[in-house]
Symmetry: C2
Subunit: 194 residues, 2 copies
């Protein structure tokens, strides 16, 4: 799961700052997935991101603010939910798998590390609930929408665990579209039950 | 997810030893789900299990042997797979949910902590592959059985994450049989595709 350390590659002003921020967030996310919150230092995040610790402070304020950003699912949910409802099952399965395959990250899987982060874990859970489950619920119609949103999301979480953590040999050697064909119907059945 | 510390409750010889071993395994499993492998001490496991560290050594030999037991899915897979193939989808979903609800544990979910355990994580993944995915594959017939086994297992992992880690309010407030009704068809569709 951990990608290689990354350094910003762009050079022009504004884009450079954005690329640097993204590198810092990637580095912080890596540590969040491998260490307890209290064990993570700004220095380590800075080293992994290829920047200085003061630069992190300049961009994010302090360690807690940085991790608040990392613990947010807002931006990832935007991309995850970016499809019409009748195609959303296929889109979400494809988005999880291509994110894992192409970038070694998963839009929602960091929720599994909640138990390692003490009180921060509760923040992660609350964010997940409002920014993922509830946002998906708002897209649905019909009875039991909140439950169906959780069940649809759970299928995506399971695929993420199997691909990125258990590293299942079969799902990793099968094309994304093949897995979409096999898994999206179960997701869509929760979104728009017949 | 963490249950309260447990102490053996039985008194007669043989049963007492079994209950003590179970308490030690539960304690070790708790730490495995919350701390990096290197940070876990026999003393901490002993305290949580309500036994002495020498007693752990007597029963399991050493820390590595104890964790080898904890990293095995053998016994859990026995219970998970204990149903005829045509009812296995419902059985597996029900087994995951009742284990979570009644005992605060999950038969297979500890695979998600693999990233925290360094080389031990690879052992956990290899065990998961041979003791869960491959054992399920051996029960299946028809094309792509290994892939279908991983996809069926991934649904169970996702439910476990949603219930035990994300603590989804909906899945936790819905009856097990209701969730079985809603989720087992997707699992069974992987096991015995029509």
């Amino acid at each position: 799961m951990p990608p290689a350390p990354t350094t910003p590659r762009t050079t022009s002003g504004r884009r450079d700052a954005e690329a640097t921020k993204a590198a810092i967030l990637r580095a912080a996310r890596h540590f969040l997935a491998h260490h307890a919150h209290a064990d993570i230092t700004l220095k380590a995040v800075a080293e992994r991101a290829g920047v200085s610790a003061p630069l992190i402070l300049k961009y994010f304020g302090n360690k807690e603010a940085l991790f608040a950003r990392v613990m947010s699912f807002e931006t990832d949910a935007d991309a995850l939910l970016d499809a019409p409802l009748d195609q959303l099952g296929r889109h979400m399965v494809r988005h999880v798998l291509t994110s894992q395959r192409d970038r070694g990250v998963d839009p929602i899987l960091r929720i599994v590390f909640a138990p390692f982060h003490g009180e921060q874990g509760d923040i992660l859970r609350a964010n997940f609930r409002t920014q993922v489950s509830q946002r998906l619920t708002e897209r649905l119609t019909g009875p039991d929408a909140p439950l169906r949103a959780e069940l649809a999301t759970s299928i995506l979480l399971g695929l993420g665990v199997m691909y990125g953590i258990a590293r299942g040999t079969q799902v990793r050697s099968t094309t994304v579209e093949e897995i979409v064909d096999r898994c999206a119907p179960a997701v869509q059945a929760q979104l728009t039950p017949s």
